[in-house]
Amino acid sequence: MFELLGIPPQALFGQLLLGLINGAFYALLSLGLAVIFGLLNIINFAHGAQYMMGAFVAWMLLNYLNVGYWWALLLAPIVVGITGVIIERTMLKHLYKLDHLYGLLLTFGLALIIEGLFRNYYGSSGQPYQIPAELTGGRNLGFMFLPNYRAWIVVSSLAICLVTWYVIERTKLGSYLRAATENATLVRAFGVNVPRMITLTYGFGVGLAALAGVLAAPVQNVSPQMGSSLIIIVFAVVVIGGMGSIMGSILTGFGLGVIEGLTKVFYPEASNTVIFIIMAIVLLIKPAGLFGRAT
């Protein structure tokens, strides 16, 4: 049996697959960020908090209303998306004409407030959430044991990513959206309600974060700070992919997941750092990101 750098190939294949699974999370989260940035020009720092809210809403639905995982998958993004719409209508819409920095500061402040509120009510140590019965267990692939739930994460997030990309890049609705970001006044002249479109876009981006939160709830600790450690990595993914590039953030998400997975085998101590090293290199060589357009 040949070995690559001291690692048996079975282990390597396993790690590659796990990397893809983690990449699915990064892709889903950075997709929401990219949509919001690309169409609203807002750097949404509350994304991590909204991801956490998604997981918590799923937990609340189960504990207070006895609503299970599958409905939560639909309801949690809607509930959290509505809070996003309220935030956009009452606060964010006043900031579009100002520098990016204001949006960033506002959403960062909101993130801290949201996390603080959840911590105050639910404590910091997290809540239990089980894998739905239909997706427990797993299959032996020969080189590794693949839990069914992980397979579900990859398949569902890949599907969501592709649908989103298709809607924005290939449909009439998407072309309105893109046109509105280029020149809102002109699009309004054609009778399109641009402010409402922007509001719904923000709600949709936030809903994507919440969806990722529901997907994560059964495999990660549902705690108020679950989003804050992830959001920084996801921002790095978006920066590497190119701010606002939809396909860029999807591909980078999966790619970086794989690279991070391999780092965990060869030098685990650096697994949290490797993404930032790549980010620094990419910014030096191609400041607009791998898939971004220089403006």
Partner: protein, 404 residues
């Protein structure tokens, strides 16, 4: 006339208080609970520790004897520099006499230093590092509840003796994780076991599947989790998902608190073996304490760290009452060591020369969901480790206070 009488009464009262508290610095015993109030350890100590200290003050009855006590709390944010500067400000400006709790070994070691410099008192309950009563021991510090040596010895030797003789470590990559791994490895090897491999993961890792796969490939019988809080919860949750236990490997949580088991849920945590020095369901007195404590802590039951804060505060106040003074920190600690401890939670015990509080430790197993009668009914006792074996022998810690 009335005004003069009021002044007279006030003066008399002040004088009376002054006489009674001749040696209590500025007439009040100030207790500072320095803890993680907002992040990963906040449910282990945090606001619950402040509540526990307040309960201890109430139960001590010290205020009936004319000594005023005040309890305040602060957040050290898990940063040693923040912890040290809060401690300095408390001692210098706010006239705090004793600091309690302080989870996070790095912060605890910093506060340990400041307390010694200012000759105050530090009663630690939340931190794990056995260095607090080892190389860095101090005449002003008491380490109450547990330490890395106790955890390693309790869980490690019990598991090796019941056949778990090959180990793989998942270690949190900072001082605490390294210490816990080092202490456990020593116990495993001493009992005839073998360590097949280890992997060091960054603090606050979201995804452990890759590390778990490496642990699985090692074919070790036991996967030792030398990490804490959210990292432990995520590793156990994901180990269940990857069918690690069904495939015949077992997890050993080297530092698991009641609040962590609550977060995991019994379905995921069942069968886990862990060591703690206190659990609310040990006897009538601990149960009574938990019933009284929970409403003051948002319904959450006490952890061993919070119990340690309660017991530590009680014993401290006892020493202050006996000395009728709180001014000289090292004298108060000397008095605490001289007096045998006796409190409703830990029972009878002693504080050793090196500052180590000695009491039994318990090896617990997490119940199956059908064995549990309700929330927080999580542990059953597998073994009791007697007080004289639970902690590192006093002559092996390299503490300078211990005369050879």
């Amino acid at each position: 006339m009335k005004a003069i009488r009021t002044i007279g009464i006030a003066a008399a009262a002040t004088l009376a208080a002054g006489v009674a508290n001749a040696q209590i610095s500025d007439d009040v015993v100030r207790i500072g609970v320095l803890s993680d109030m907002s992040s990963l350890y906040a449910d282990i100590g945090g606001p619950g520790s402040v509540a526990a200290a307040r309960m201890a003050v109430e139960d001590s009855g010290i205020e009936k004897n004319g000594i005023k006590v005040e309890v305040i709390g602060a957040d050290h944010q898990n940063k040693p520099d923040v912890g040290a500067s809060v401690a300095r400000q408390w001692y210098d400006v706010e006239k705090v006499d004793v600091i309690l709790d302080t989870p996070n070994s790095a912060v605890a070691l910093a506060v340990n230093q400041v307390t010694r410099e200012k000759n105050k008192v530090f009663i630690n309950s939340g931190a794990a590092s056995s260095d607090l009563t080892g190389k860095q021991c101090s005449p002003n510090t008491v380490h109450w509840t547990y330490d890395t040596w106790m955890l390693a010895n309790g869980t490690g030797s019990a598991i090796v003796k019941t056949g778990g003789d090959t180990w793989f470590f998942l270690t949190s990559d900072y001082a605490f994780g390294h210490a816990l791994e080092r202490d456990t490895e020593a116990v495993v090897v001493k009992n005839g076991g073998k360590v097949l491999g280890k992997v060091r993961h960054p603090l606050n890792t979201q995804d452990f599947s890759s590390f778990l796969l490496q642990a699985q490939a090692s074919k070790a019988k036991i996967i030792g989790l030398a990490n804490a809080g959210g990292d432990t919860i995520n590793s156990i949750k994901q180990a269940a998902e990857f069918g690690i236990v069904q495939a015949g490997q077992n997890l050993a949580g080297l530092l698991v608190f009641l609040s962590d088991v609550h977060s995991l849920g019994l379905k995921t945590a069942q069968g886990l073996i862990l060591t703690e020095s206190w659990y609310w369901d040990l006897n009538d007195q601990t149960r009574a304490f938990a019933k009284k404590f929970a409403p003051k802590n948002g319904g959450k039951y006490p952890t061993m760290v919070q119990a340690g804060v309660y017991a530590g505060t009680l014993h401290y106040l006892k020493a202050v009452q006996a000395l009728k003074s709180d001014t000289d920190g090292s004298k108060v600690v000397a008095k605490m060591k001289e007096t045998p401890t006796d409190d409703p939670l830990f029972g009878k015990g002693t504080i050793r020369q090196d500052g180590r509080k000695v009491h039994p430790a318990y090896l617990f197993e997490v119940k199956k969901p059908n064995e549990s009668k309700g929330p927080y009914d999580y542990y059953k006792v597998r073994a009791t480790i007697p007080a004289d074996q639970a902690f590192r022998p006093v002559d092996q810690g390299q503490c300078s206070l211990v005369k050879g």
